[in-house]
């Protein structure tokens, strides 16, 4: 039971929100991948809190690669990224040592670690840890792009406000990756922001649904049992804090479809094998079929709200009322997309490396 993930590649996360540093070790990576530091910064920027719709904690998130890179290229040995913690206000969290924040991991961390957990700011459970994940994922995302594999995520639904569907995948992905607030339809984007600000003004928060597309994955990757493409992606994606669901292709709507509607008819088109619909989200029998891999991720509303909440004081073993102070996001969905992208990049890179060998991602 470990904080490590992957088959041929592996990623290990370490660090606590208010400790010395957070970081990640990426192992099994191909040698010869060029490190594009600007690209990494771009991805980290997508995860950073920004403007009124985010927490006021400002993290410089200066990532440093301390191993595995030489002369600007990956060496093939473990690549460790370290991000030092700086803007920490530990005193804000003193109360947490006693009061469990509802829907947070305070109580479960206490049960698991038996009182030895670093409770400050969520400790090892903090969303902050994902910065290291995003930096690592950026390296792989860039390497995948060089192989013609592109990943993009938009906010499909934010507290009921829906974005349009993917239309032209390649263009849409490019557009999304240049947006701070990743929504295809800009009217929808504005309405979503309004929802977030409204929740913020009430001391409340909202969630939503992210939709991710991966294009360019060759057919034939994944395993029929257990290490299915869906199984591997979902295993990783549930590590994005606040994710409570994942669905591929038509997903839960399948419950309302008949086989004749749900089945994706297959055709030769311009010498390529395609499906007319993509209700299976690019995966059959756990294995990629060459169509875009499409999945949606349910993000719960940020649990840190300023409204008064009923909870327990698990040190004094009594009921209590929690009135949170500090700096909190009224929504994290726009920041979470960078983490979803990163885990997706990792998982796709992992499955491709397992299939084609350690050199696959080499330029």
């Amino acid at each position: 039971m470990k904080n490590t993930f992957g088959i041929a590649l592996s990623i290990t996360l370490f660090g606590e929100s208010h400790g010395t540093a957070i970081g990640a070790v990426l192992d099994g990576i191909a040698p010869g991948i060029k490190i594009d530091e600007e690209y990494i910064e771009e991805k980290l920027a997508q995860r950073k809190p920004k403007g009124k719709i985010s927490t006021k904690r400002r993290e410089p998130d200066k990532s440093e690669i301390v191993s595995g890179v030489f002369n600007g290229y990956t060496t093939g040995s473990p690549l460790c990224i370290v991000i030092k913690n700086q803007d920490t206000k530990s005193k804000d969290y003193e109360e947490v040592a006693r009061l469990a924040r509802p829907s947070h991991a305070d109580f479960t961390a206490f049960c698991k670690y038996e009182g030895f957990e670093d409770y400050r700011g969520g400790g090892h459970f903090s969303g902050r840890i994902t910065a290291a994940l995003v930096a690592s994922g950026a390296i792989l995302m860039k390497a995948l792009e060089n192989k013609g594999i592109y990943i993009g995520t938009h906010i499909k639904n934010c507290h009921g406000v829906c974005d349009q569907n993917f239309d032209k995948y390649r263009d849409d992905i490019e557009a999304l990756n240049s947006l701070e607030f990743p929504v295809l339809n800009q009217d929808a984007a504005q309405k979503m922001k309004d929802e977030i600000l409204k929740a913020a003004s009430e001391g409340d928060s909202v969630g939503g649904i992210l939709e991710t597309a991966v294009i360019g994955v060759p057919a034939g990757v994944g395993e029929p049992w257990f290490d299915t493409f869906e199984g591997m992606l979902s295993h990783g994606i549930f590590s994005v804090p606040a994710v409570k669901g994942i669905e591929f292709g038509a997903g839960f709507d399948m419950a309302y479809m008949k086989g004749s509607e749900a089945n994706d008819a297959m055709r030769y088109k311009d010498g390529e094998i395609v499906t007319e619909t993509n209700n299976n989200g690019g995966i059959n029998g756990g294995i990629s079929n060459g169509m875009p891999i499409i999945f949606r991720t349910a993000i719960k509303p940020t649990p840190s709200i300023f409204k008064s909440q009923q909870t327990i004081d698990f040190k004094n073993k009594e009921n209590a009322t929690l009135n949170l102070k500090g700096r909190h996001d009224p929504a994290i969905i726009h920041r979470a997309r960078a983490v979803v992208d990163a885990i997706t990049a990792f998982t796709v890179a992992d499955l491709l490396t397992a299939r084609f060998g350690t050199d696959f991602l080499k330029e």
Copy 2:
């Protein structure tokens, strides 16, 4: 990239639909678990096709434990279950060698295995393989029951017909485990069967949503990153053929909730720590919180339908029309619940073994 799953326990599946045998190896299991063969048969019976709403293929599914059991108890060494194939009609599937059945794994298997796959009846991708999974899972499910941990699954939605919610978990689970068609509300059950028969009469099929409850899991099990409780369960559950989505607690409905609605208030009640709602489905920060673990699984309509379908002939590289014959299920959702139960039992047993050591499940 393997057909093996698990951390402290592991399960490996082998076999093809029309080969000599299918089976599973369960490793890392505690010594001293009593084997209840009747219980295994019961679980296998839940997976078996039955009545008008299932395929006419009748599999005796006689499971044989060939290792790891001595004098009626697990020895602690690998337990291998073998189920011989008997009622196979290979000629029915000859056409499949050429024509990809839409939404099946024929084409992806061909890409992955490059023409060497056993295409008869879905080969290694066949739902038949799950019989071995169910038999293995039954051993663990029984062992978990002896530790006060119960698992039950109902059809929450079958082609739009909905079952009532779980009410009294312990009783509902017991009721469900005694039902062939696992629905809590018997009116809903009848309407669901009508939907299935209607689809069957049209040569079509339906899907639905399964909802699973696990009660009795102690708080503090799971890992914050990657080997989260959700991540491990989802990794396994996506191996149930036809699953296209999974959500925990309120899941995708979270997109429409505010933090103040979604957060589960905590209380001491009769000396126990409980949450007033269970929108997080018993898991916070990837770790069990002691509440029932609740998740729902989207099952797509059975892809094998008798309606004419557009597809490709991937041997001759041309478009084609597929008119399926043979024996096929108009719905598998009622059979799939046994597989979901089995994987759930395995995953819960695995996480508990990783946490508490190899003897945890010993009687």
Copy 3:
């Protein structure tokens, strides 16, 4: 802690000496490897007890591949080999339930499995389980040969009688693989057999040292830390029952050498990079260097002897004397070589698959 081994490939062993069957599941194997049943039988024959120098237990060892092979080729899905147990005389072993056979696993099995172990004939610890390993390894050994990689093992030392060194690797390996008693120098072979028969006549047993060569492995395979070529091979090789040591190249003799003697000078020779000596046994920094991989394995004398032995009765918790009856080998070194070959083939195939992808071994 599992009965499974491997990174990209995996092998899982199951079965007990006197149970229904033993077997192995090989997963992650390339599709399109031709199954040569005669070759598998040949390898199984090398492991079989034979003549006066072996136990009188005669096992037909009829292996059956029950999955993962279609039309004579591997499909790429898990390949399960089952060998049914037949010639079992369980009553011979009744005493073992009480008396720990010295240097056997009776007592440690009792501690680990807490009395639930199948103690008959060594149960899951029995050397018999290796038949499944040998059959699995034979498939990979043949596939490696098709890639120009050859493996051969000789008895370097049997109770002090030494064989000559490898001379011409390719020829020597071919010769060894055709010999029942794998010794290069036939005089030495005879003297070794004499030692074994002498020990047998005394109710005693002997051990020895096996030396294995692997040629044709390309340079650059293995990992600097942990999954070193030596680490992976040794991890597997210590599963050969009775192995108590392993050394690569000059091994323990290094203790008597200076750097200037031990270092392998490098040279270009006919366009190839070679080393003048091979004291490192073909591995530097955990990674293959293209030279023959050479290692030696210490095999302890068979612990089952007919001489009276002091031991404990761990049921009655008292000291006791053991006088073994039944059928036992005065030496297993000549049989063990087939197991060493099999694990070597597995490990080499595994490391190559991890490096070059799942198709590497495809014909």
Copy 4:
């Protein structure tokens, strides 16, 4: 194929000799283990080059724990140790970019990483990386001591000079752990140092044999196949740079013994089960038997020598002569013992955690 090791625990190493930093991530560790920084420094000091018998490179080896520790105790989340590199003289190694140092990993690294490796000072292959391993191992070694499990290593043989055998394990281990040059007999120690200095004066180097004892491990730990106690230990130990062999108990001497000599007679003694001899080194059938676990490790002479050597220029593809300059150890065996101790501590802690659960090592 990864730089990660372990079943229930895991350790991941990262870093290059002349990069920014080296380090290790320890995951799966129990919460509540007290961090004894002095003890860690002590172990690091044992690994440090010292006096005339070592390289003149002086590394401050200031280790910093950047995660997984809170208020002086492990939290149970991943513990990352970082050691910054300081005293690096990269220009000394420029020649290595062209000339392969015999018996080093320069050529194999080039083959594996295809020219992208950080060749300075051995890069990721450098013995320097073991500092992080030693620091991590020290935490586990201390935790094991609190459970009554002690580990100690002496130089059994240095270029032919032999130390006496272990006599009183507990006392000998304590003595060894307080010695910089770990030899039980001080006359032998002096003779070994003389050998090392003599080799140094010749521009040459020597190797030797380390012998390690682990006492206090309960019977019943390990697995019969693959994850045997020997297999796991050897897998780890071959990561100690320069190790070319490992043997347990009587090891290779078994080749000269009969069963009646090699078998360890068992006895009840003062209520405990013991063996009269310990030729099996505390392990039967891959599982600990409660006796001291004894193994020996062959360490090759340090490959960096000042004598002129024949080698290849693998950039210019021609034969060349190498005359090394810089700072090199005439022997590393006395430093290697700290690494052997660390990996032993890790492996023992790992197997115990897998068996008894994640809390086992908690104070």
